[in-house]
């Protein structure tokens, strides 16, 4: 299996405290890899480093052989990496379709085009993307009035518009009701499978993690303490001890 993303020795410290220390892993093509861990374990820091929002102190992160470290978010996007945010972020002043159209025009290098009418540009492609995420009938509604779950799906569609080969999803189901969570993750799983997109995601909901990840990595205090299949991670004593579910036996206090 060839790795899409190879991370080696990624580290970041804030004021002497190691937020992430020597993080290393491979993400294989088509894999859905979950990154979990208690609050403050370094998940967000890792994500920000991978997407160029934060510069690591050391280490490399190669996407299809190209080191992402030191690149800007936009350059990383241009290589084929998509991103969704924990606090969902769409273009609130536009309609649903225009949100996707704006991303499509950026992909086609038309962000500086002063001549065409943007409303008509890439409309069909946007609609078919929205159809795929089940949002087509809301295409002309303002994004600002959508229900939260629909905003999540819209953000996913915007990310897909960039034709990513790797998707970084930061807590894709945060803030959703349990039933919606699984619906969203089923949708994501289906689409990434048919398009061959690899996914790295963080998540708090363990049902989502164990139901939708092919592999799970566990971070604790900036270090990777486990990396394996869901069953292997579930059985890992160390993981059980740091991650709430110690029952009574193995507290670390």
């Amino acid at each position: 299996m060839n790795a899409v993303l190879e991370v080696r020795g990624l580290s970041k410290a804030f004021g002497g405290v190691h937020a992430v220390e020597d993080l290393g892993f491979d993400l294989r093509a088509g894999e859905r890899l979950a990154l979990i861990g208690p609050n403050g374990a370094g998940k967000s820091t890792s994500f920000q480093m991978l997407m160029g929002e934060l510069r690591p102190d050391a280490g490399t992160a190669c996407f299809e052989g190209v080191d992402l470290v030191g690149m800007e978010p936009r350059e990383i996007w241009a290589l084929g990496v998509g991103r969704t945010f924990q606090i969902t972020s769409v273009f609130a002043s536009m309609t649903v379709a225009e949100n996707v159209q704006t991303a499509l025009q950026a992909r086609n290098g038309q962000s500086f085009d002063p001549f065409r009418r943007a409303r008509a540009l890439h409309r069909d492609e946007a609609i078919s993307l929205l159809e795929r995420v089940g949002m087509a009938e809301q295409a002309d509604r303002p994004a600002s009035v959508l229900a939260y779950g629909d905003v999540k799906r819209l953000e996913f569609a915007i990310a897909l518009a960039g034709e990513p080969r790797l998707l970084l999803m930061d807590e894709p189901t945060a803030g959703m009701a349990p039933r919606e969570r699984h619906a969203l993750m089923d949708l994501v799983s289906g689409i990434v499978a048919e398009r061959g997109i690899s996914v790295l995601f963080t998540e708090h909901d363990m049902d989502v993690v164990f139901g939708h990840a092919d592999r799970i990595m566990v971070l604790d205090r900036g270090r990777l303490i486990a990396d394996g299949t869901p069953d292997a991670v579930r059985a890992d004593a160390k993981v059980r001890s740091v991650y709430l579910g110690s029952g009574a036996e193995t507290g670390h206090a």
């Binding site: 997407m51 929002e53 800007e72 978010p73 936009r74 990383i76 996007w77 241009a78 998509g82 991103r83 945010f85 972020s89 769409v90 273009f91 609130a92 002043s93 536009m94 309609t95 225009e98 159209q101 704006t102 991303a103 025009q105 950026a106 992909r107 038309q110 962000s111 500086f112 085009d113 002063p114 001549f115 065409r116 009418r117 943007a118 409303r119 540009l121 303002p142 994004a143 600002s144 009035v145 953000e155 915007i158 990310a159 518009a161 960039g162």
Partner: protein
């Protein structure tokens, strides 16, 4: 040697008032996150109040008592402003807060005029300190020495207040985390009001204390504003010590400028600011704000839509009316209509970057006046034909916007706004002081249209075609992919970045577009008036642009047109009344508080409601 020391002392003395104003501004911003544009007005009020108090209080003690009384009076006035206006706006987008404080500027201007008259008031000498002492063979006014002592005393007092009293500790805590202070049981409103009182009182004290040096006149308010901004920006937002150091730096640089480069005194402080910001983007003692807030003008929640049939008809009717106006209207109506179109283009150019880009500029006059001066200079010195000059004006506006944008776009929100104002003042200073080239206060005159366009009607049509065309072009841009990319960057900067939009370049390009259009408006303006004066670059002109955008409604693309018409007609109508600034200011404040979507936004909402029902 003696001369140097004397100059140094004069600079230090000048620093006192500047420091008092800037520290109050900084203090208020630190806790309430409001940039108080009316702070210069509070300074002016301080001067006038001090003048009046001195009519009743005499003697050396009376003088200082009068200064204190002025400070308290201005502090109470500030408290009133906070309670009546700003308190309701703490959660509103920055634009609304700023426009509301503009309103206060206008109101205070007229109130002062009504209470104290238009005559400049000569400052009385400070009793007991009205002589000069000889230092190193140079005369140094005693009062200067007193001022040199006052500033550090106030700094010390503020330092004691901030570090040794509970109130000061709470203020510092609130500067860092307002919500947490509330969660610990502290009443934030009370704290905010207290800080506003203190900040206003400091400005009032500054105004009263400079009475013996400069007297009181109606230009003090905007005159001190730009230097105070520069001091706050150099010292670092929220840092009182920084304000002190920066005030001293600026004032000393200034007096030495008078000595060695008399033409450049006003420009020098902006050069100092530029150098400091290049090295330390957040000022000498400032810190990067951790989180950029939401866009300064807020995000509209309705998508942009092409005009509906009804609006389309209305627009066509308007164009038709403008076309036949020379046949039916008086000459005066033509002049008024020309003014409206020029101002509408000016407003539309600001609207483009402010509303679609979320970039609030307080110095938009720089681009308008820049275009105007470019055309006028070309005509005056190179006998450039009007046609070419009207091409040069937008080019100059675009280039200026590029330079200003390159500098200012590193900062966001209110920092961006304050920097743009500083740059506009820089250009104003150039126009005002570089007399050999710009004619200074006398301006450049005799800039008349080419022979074929010299008739008022022809020039009117020219204005309609160029100005109206440019407005339509801006409108078209808003609907183009570029306009969408610009809005995307405003709606969610991080989403835009990871969707492949070059946010910084898109914003710079928008500023250049905006500058080009403002420059064209300036060019049309020059030839319609036949002259240009530094007033084309002054703060009040930038205010006009903001107020027009605001009156028309930030979210409505047609807003600038409505705003320009409203402002021109309102000014024309109100200027027949004695106190039009007062009325305009009150109107602006009322609109911020009651109808924040502006006239066009309000009308649009009414229309939609009717269509829905």
């Amino acid at each position: 040697m003696g001369l140097l020391v004397a100059q140094l002392l004069a600079g230090l003395a000048n620093a006192a008032a500047l420091f008092l104003v800037a520290s109050g501004l900084s203090l208020i911003f630190g806790v309430t996150r409001i940039v108080n544009f009316a702070h210069g007005s509070l300074y002016m009020l301080g001067a006038y109040c001090g003048y009046t108090a001195l009519q009743y209080l005499t003697g050396p003690l009376g003088f200082w008592a009068a200064a204190l009384a002025a400070a308290v009076a201005v502090g109470l006035f500030g408290l009133l402003v906070e309670c009546l206006i700003l308190r309701r706006l703490y959660k509103a987008p920055e634009l609304f807060q700023l426009v509301a404080t503009f309103g206060v500027v206008l109101v205070v201007q007229d109130l002062t005029l009504m209470l104290w008259g238009a005559e400049d008031l000569l400052g009385p000498r400070a009793p007991g300190l009205d002589r000069a002492v000889m230092l190193f063979g140079q005369p140094v006014p005693e009062y200067d020495l007193a001022l040199i002592a006052v500033a550090p005393l106030v700094l010390l007092g503020l330092w004691l207040l901030m570090t040794k009293t509970r109130a000061g500790i709470l203020i510092r805590a609130a500067t860092q985390d307002r919500e947490m202070v509330g969660a610990l049981g502290i009443n934030q409103s009370l704290l905010f009001s207290g800080v506003f009182f203190l900040g206003a009182a400091l400005a009032g004290l500054g105004g009263a204390l400079q009475l013996p040096k400069g007297g009181a006149d109606l230009t003090l308010d905007l005159g001190i504003l730009a230097p105070a901004f520069v001091v706050v920006v150099i010292g670092g937002m929220g840092s009182i010590g920084g304000a002190f150091v920066a005030a001293v730096l600026i004032s000393v640089v200034n007096v030495f400028g008078v000595l060695y480069l008399p033409e450049s005194t006003l420009v020098l402080m902006y050069v100092v600011m530029a150098v400091v910001l290049l090295v330390r983007p957040h000022g000498l003692f400032g810190r990067a704000e951790l989180q950029a807030g939401p866009p300064a003008a807020g995000i509209p929640d309705r998508p942009l839509a092409p005009l509906g049939p009804r609006w389309r008809t209305a627009a066509l009717a308007l164009i038709g009316l403008l076309a036949v106006l020379p046949l039916i209207g008086s000459d005066f109506a033509l002049v008024l209509a020309t003014d409206i179109v020029v101002l509408a283009l000016f407003a539309a150019s600001l609207h483009f970057m402010l509303s679609l880009g979320g970039l609030i500029s307080f110095g938009h006059a720089a681009l308008f006046g820049g275009g105007a001066y470019a055309a006028a200079l070309a005509v005056t010195y190179a006998e450039t034909p009007m046609e070419l000059a009207l091409l040069l004006a937008p080019l100059a506006g675009g280039w200026l916007a590029f330079a200003i944008g390159w500098f200012c776009l590193r900062l966001t929100g209110v920092y961006f706004a304050m920097l743009t104002l500083a740059f506009a003042q820089l250009l104003w200073s150039l126009a005002f002081q570089w007399t050999e080239v710009t004619g200074g206060d006398d301006g450049l005159i005799g800039i008349w249209p080419a022979a074929w366009a010299s008739d008022g009607t022809v020039y009117y049509y020219l204005t309609i075609v160029l100005g109206g065309g440019a407005i339509l072009m801006l409108r078209h841009l808003a609907h183009s992919p570029f306009g969408y990319a610009l809005r995307a960057a405003r709606d969610s900067e991080k989403r835009a970045r990871v969707s492949g939009i070059r946010v910084d370049r898109v914003r710079l390009a928008a500023m250049v577009v905006s500058g080009t259009m403002a420059g064209l408006a300036g060019g049309l303006f020059v030839f319609s008036k036949g002259s240009v004066f530094p007033s084309a670059l002054e703060i009040a002109r930038s205010f006009d642009a903001l107020i027009m955008v605001f009156l028309g409604g930030v979210d409505a693309l047609g807003g600038p047109l409505v705003g320009a018409a409203a402002l021109t007609l309102l000014q024309d109508w109100l200027s027949r009344l004695e106190s039009w600034r007062l009325l305009l200011g009150l109107a602006v404040i009322a609109i911020v508080l009651l109808a924040p979507t502006g006239i066009a936004g309000f009308a649009g909402r009414l229309l939609r409601r009717r269509e829905a029902s």
